[in-house]
């Protein structure tokens, strides 16, 4: 491979990893608080739609990204209201939220005129604001979780809800805030799909990327830096696959390539599920 090709693959690897990074970092913070959010798929989809619609209406991709964060946070608030405050099962609530968002975006899409959204400008070499935000979010999540008192309390909430409550930690506040923050990041992850990787919105376009992010959080054992490394590795693999596909050197049918991310995620989990490192009270309410 020539140096130019390596560079091209590296850059497209980071670009391809951006949605996964944003979603997975947000989910790491959430899961550290004990919230397993299956609704992440819906948050991403809502973000993708909001980014496209707001970007198209305003002509500003940054306004689109802002709308995406707000939409993701709003969907997460719906999920959090049920899971944190009504103590509903997170998997059932998450699945319901995903159905609602898939339906709502489908209805809204049909009601809107089709069109393209303005793409995010490249501010640092080939990287956009969202790429930079994704990379920054890793450092921010690490510093917050492991270097602040708030992060310590949040982790306590995820490890043992009862003990955290006994220490007078407002567990619901921590869990709900973490849910919302993760939702905003998942919304931005959706924005990366419609403002960076493509410029249009398609029904159900997230196609399970949120679930891949969930898998990578477990693979990275709930630590921001390893999780980020897993996302970047995943992005690189995808970029290499695109390059090979574009050069036509692969004899594999394109349909088989589409399921590759999910097979890889499962393989990664089978090799290193890291269940013993999971926050002890993950998914409990």
């Amino acid at each position: 491979m020539s140096a130019a090709l390596v560079a091209a693959v590296l850059v497209s690897g980071i670009t391809a990893a951006t949605p996964l990074l944003l979603a997975a970092v947000g989910e790491t913070v959430r899961e550290k608080a004990g919230i397993l959010d299956i609704g992440i798929e819906g948050e991403m989809l809502a973000g993708a739609f909001a980014a496209w619609a707001a970007g198209q209406s305003s002509g500003s991709p940054l306004a689109g990204a802002g709308a995406a964060a707000a939409a993701g946070a709003a969907v997460a608030a719906l999920f959090g209201a049920f899971v944190v405050f009504r103590r509903a099962d997170p998997i059932v609530a998450g699945t319901a939220v995903n159905l609602v968002v898939l339906g709502a975006t489908g209805v809204l899409l049909r009601a809107r005129s089709a069109g393209t959204a303005p793409l995010l400008p490249r501010v640092a070499g080939p990287l956009t604001v969202l790429d930079l935000a994704a990379l920054a979010s890793v450092a921010a999540a690490f510093l917050f979780l492991f270097r602040t008192t708030w992060g310590l309390r949040l982790r306590a909430t995820g490890e043992s809800l009862a003990d955290a409550a006994a220490l007078k930690i407002p567990t619901r506040t921590y869990r709900f805030s973490a849910t919302i923050a993760g939702g905003a990041l998942a919304g931005l992850a959706g924005a990366a799909l419609t403002l960076e990787l493509s410029d249009t919105f398609l029904e159900g376009m997230t196609a399970g990327r949120g679930f891949v992010a969930l898998a990578l959080v477990a693979f990275g054992r709930w630590k921001p830096v390893p999780v980020a490394a897993a996302c970047l590795g995943f992005g690189l693999l995808q970029a290499m696959q695109y390059q090979l596909q574009a050069r036509g050197t692969l004899g594999i049918p394109p349909q088989a390539l589409l399921m590759l991310p999910y097979v890889l995620s499962l393989a990664a989990l089978a090799v290193r599920a890291g269940k013993s490192r999971a926050p002890a009270d993950l998914g409990k309410s």
């Binding site: 975006t105 599920a273 269940k275």
Partner: protein
């Protein structure tokens, strides 16, 4: 219109039963979608590539669907039990792999012989499930779904093994102390869940579509979960909820034709029904995840 609602509700009931069997044993199976597709794929392979008398072909296709669904769930069961993967993740990710396999099949080795569209050949007329009510699409598979729901209710309430399964879900530690082999019970529940969804896929193929194609399941697996919860996590409740969901689907399709509102509106209503069910206190408690099901 009622017949059509039942036709639309039938795949949801199979998937709801799949979710319920696993849930009662303490497993979260969000993989009915993939198991349904695996069942349909195997049934299509048998029904369009083998020859035989109609009923024999149909029976073979249904058997293949059941086995394929159980096998697909078996992969998840292995990942959960032997590799420590979270049940939700293993089952959800396998859904996308199954959808990919269907796509590979209908674009490749199972594509119709004329190679025109990405779909399989049509299942021979003689191997299709009989229509119960002339003039409608009400097929015999719907009766299978209802019987299966009743059988599950009987199994859970009236049999020793049903009790073991409930015990493994409600209190795995107490069940262990009582001499119940909880991992074995859970593996059985996982396979049974896959078999139910796989049967659903075969029935949908032989009773409704007659062919396999890319979007064969528009999320039946996830909607099955919704049906199970709205049916208050009881098999017979799920049967009633499946009929309601079927009606919503028919209604929203009508809305799309008459008013131009996307039929995706059905998903908003159905997801909303689940959230409503979760908001009602009594149901909320029953819907809570059982201890140590991960």
């Amino acid at each position: 219109m009622i017949a059509e609602a039942l036709v639309k509700g039938s795949p949801l009931l199979f998937c709801a039963i799949s979710f319920l069997v696993a849930w009662k044993a303490g497993i979260v199976n969000v993989g009915a979608e993939g198991q349904f597709l695996a069942g349909a794929l195997a049934a299509a392979a048998v029904a369009t590539r083998r020859t035989g008398s109609g009923p024999a072909l149909a029976a073979a296709a249904i058997a293949a669907g059941i086995v394929a669904g159980a096998a697909w769930a078996g992969i998840a069961a292995w990942l959960v039990r032997r590799r420590g993967v979270l049940d939700v993740l293993a089952t959800i990710l396998l859904n996308f792999v199954a959808a990919g396999l269907v796509s590979v099949a209908v674009h490749g080795f199972l594509q119709e012989r004329t190679r025109t569209f990405p779909q399989t050949d049509a299942v021979p007329e003689a191997a299709r499930l009989p229509v119960l009510l002339p003039g409608t699409r009400l097929h015999a598979g719907i009766a299978i779904a209802v019987v299966l729901a009743a059988a599950l209710a009987f199994f859970l309430r009236r049999t020793k093994n049903g009790f073991r399964l409930l015990a493994a879900g409600a209190g795995p530690r107490a069940a262990e102390f009582a001499g119940i082999d909880v991992p074995a019970v859970r593996t059985f529940a996982f396979l049974a869940a896959g078999a139910a969804a796989g049967l659903g896929g075969a029935v949908e193929l032989l009773g409704v579509t007659g062919r396999l194609f890319d979007s064969f399941s528009p999320g039946y697996g996830y909607l099955g979960l919704a049906v199970a919860v709205v049916g208050q996590l009881s098999p017979l409740g799920a049967a009633a909820a499946a009929a309601v969901f079927g009606f919503v689907n028919v209604f929203c399709s009508l809305l799309q034709r008459r008013a131009g509102i996307s039929a995706a509106s059905a998903l908003v209503i159905e997801g909303g029904l689940v959230l409503a069910a979760l908001a009602i206190p009594g149901i909320r408690r029953r819907a809570r995840r059982t201890e140590a099901s991960a």
